[in-house]
């Protein structure tokens, strides 16, 4: 078999080797340095930015959770405090009421006692006055009887009766 065309692709040609070296080296140096390097750096930077953002979000979430817990704690505490205050207020009210009642009772007792004392003293004063009045009346009756005695029996009786009625009516 005779080939008229040379299968030259398998034979490295120095000219092609030279040009390939020049072109690829230039490509590597220029595009590598001014395009690939900045691109890779930019990708790296973005990767880092995304990672940082994710980390920050994670931290924020944990903080939020902590805050929430704290809030709940605070709320529970407040609730407890409220119950405590209410309880205390109730106790205070009850105490005040009972105190007031006690005082009122005491006062009432004093008033009653005073009133009783007054009544007692008034009564004794009235009795004394009555006694004096009865004595005077008796004296008056006695003096009038003595004066009428002299007139008649019947008349005397009548007279006494009239006097007694008068006294009784008073």
């Amino acid at each position: 078999m005779i080939f008229l065309v040379d299968f030259s692709v398998i034979k490295p040609d120095p000219g092609l080797v030279f040009w390939t070296t020049i072109i690829f080296a230039t490509f590597w140096i220029i595009v590598g340095k001014f395009a690939f390097k900045p691109i890779v750096a930019a990708l790296r930077k973005r990767e880092d930015d995304i990672q940082n953002a994710l980390d920050a979000a994670k931290i924020a979430r944990t903080e939020m959770e902590n805050l929430k817990e704290e809030n709940e704690e605070l709320l529970a505490q407040a609730r407890e405090e409220r119950t405590q205050i209410l309880k205390e207020a109730k106790e205070a009210r009850e105490y005040m009421i009972s105190e007031a009642k006690k005082k009122a009772k005491e006062e009432a007792a004093i008033i009653v006692r005073n009133a009783r004392n007054d009544i007692e003293s008034q009564k004794s004063a009235a009795i004394k006055e009555l006694k004096m009045e009865v004595g005077n009346m008796a004296l008056e009756v006695a003096s009038k009887i003595i004066r009428e005695k002299l007139n008649s029996d019947e008349a005397q009786k009548e007279y006494v009766k009239k006097l007694v009625d008068e006294i009784g009516m008073n």
């Binding site: 008229l4 065309v5 070296t21 490509f27 690939f36 691109i39 790296r44 973005r46 930015d49």
Partner: protein, 414 residues
């Protein structure tokens, strides 16, 4: 997007004005060359293998279609004669099929590729040639080989191919000249370089301008790919060291991917088989080799030269193995990329060739239609596979480079 189209367009335009010339030769003056060439080619039946090889090899002019070529500048060096610099292969005044009608400093253009006459009796100045001819000769081992010759004033002169540095291993040798031209492959690499530079500079600018914001537009298209290389290639292997090697890994990945994909486009400015050329993959593998060994730490060299923790006799076996491994690793990188891309290109051309085989090389239309029916789904399938291969090979090259770098920079852990 407008910037991309603009840069693409201006690149082709500037290139075209400066060096390249689009040519279609009119046949107003029949040249003897045409007949000679046709004598060589038309007597042969359609050969898909040859067609495929013709499509995957490098060339000095970019074949567009039919007799149209996009001509590229040529920088040629012949030891003892010095430099021959041509602004474009148009200077050879190509007639049909990219065959030049002139010889300049003993250089000629045949099917868009430059060859040199290595014969002191051939004139050094620019002369008109009569055509080309294939001579069947016996090589040193007695095998019959075909030698391309140029016909000048009734005499046939053997033509040299350009020097190659495979050391005769693949049949190449150091010949009378070196070709440093902007070839089809170099042109494709320059185009890829410009496209990728434009793309990544605009993406880098977007990152600067939109700092701290979500990616947008082209940036959001590129970002997942970069993040993929970063998170699935660089970080698992290199750990915290990854940022140091990201420019190299990304450069390798996108350069290979760009060239692979550009090669998938079946017409100009695509279609060049760049990453399917051993010279190109050799250089890429060498970059990996040097990057790995220059960043190798004490631990790495210790493991290669005098592996700790094993008996001394075993060390004498292991050290040569490890040293060989240093070279075998990038060598496999070179071969893997070259082989898969070249194979893909060959298979696609072979499938397309089915149309011509069925059509008996254009003689039968109904046969061609049958061939098209068979070739169309096969080629479509192959193109889809090739897209995957373009991505996978770029990825494999990058991930293996990352793993070698990881082995070289790993800290001792025992």
């Amino acid at each position: 997007m407008r910037g991309l189209i603009l840069s693409l367009f201006s690149f082709c335009l500037i290139f075209g004005i400066t060096f390249g010339h689009l040519t279609a030769q009119t046949d107003d003056q029949p040249s003897p060359l045409k007949e000679v060439v046709e004598e060589v080619y038309d007597t042969k039946a359609f050969d898909p293998g040859e067609k495929a090889i013709g499509h995957i090899v490098d060339a000095n002019a970019f074949h567009l279609f039919a007799d149209y070529y996009f001509h590229l500048p040529a920088f040629l060096f012949a030891p003892g004669y010095g430099w021959t610099i041509l602004s474009s292969t148009r200077k050879f005044k190509p007639a049909s099929k990219g065959n030049g009608t002139l010889a300049i400093d003993r250089y000629v253009l045949y099917y868009g590729a430059i060859y040199r006459v290595n014969d002191p009796s051939f004139p050094l100045e620019t002369v008109e040639i009569d055509g080309f001819h294939y001579d069947y000769q016996k090589d040193d081992d007695g095998n019959e080989i075909s030698v391309l010759q140029v016909v000048y004033r009734g005499n046939n002169y053997d033509l040299d191919s350009k020097s190659t540095i495979d050391g005769g291993f693949f049949g190449g040798k150091i010949t009378s000249y070196y070709d440093f031209s902007i070839t089809k492959n170099v042109f494709s690499m320059l185009l890829t370089f410009i496209l990728l530079t434009w793309a990544f500079f605009s993406v880098a600018k977007a990152y600067r301008r939109r700092d701290g914001m979500a990616p947008k537009g082209f940036q959001s298209f590129i970002e997942p790919i970069i993040v993929f290389i970063q998170d699935d290639v660089a970080k698992p292997f290199l750990g915290n060291n990854y940022q140091r090697f990201m420019p190299l890994l990304l450069s390798l990945f996108f350069f290979i991917l760009g060239l692979n994909l550009l090669g998938q486009i079946p017409f100009f400015p695509g279609s060049a088989n760049v990453t399917g050329n051993l010279g190109v993959t050799l250089v890429l593998a060498l970059f990996t080799f040097f990057a790995v060994n220059f960043s190798g730490n004490r631990h790495y060299w210790q493991h290669i030269l005098w592996m700790p923790g094993i008996p001394v006799p075993v060390k004498f076996i292991l050290t040569p193995v490890e040293v060989a491994g240093m070279f075998i690793k990038p060598f496999t990188l070179m071969l893997r990329l070259f082989a898969s891309i070249t194979a893909g290109h060959i298979v696609i051309v072979a499938f397309v060739s089915l149309i011509f085989i069925f059509g008996n090389a254009g003689e039968s239309l109904s046969g061609s239609m049958l061939g098209l029916l068979v070739a169309f789904p096969l080629t479509l399938f192959m193109l889809a596979i090739e897209l995957v291969i373009a991505l996978v090979q770029a990825f494999v090259f990058t991930i293996l480079t990352a793993s070698y770098l990881a082995a070289a920079t790993e800290e001792a852990h025992h």
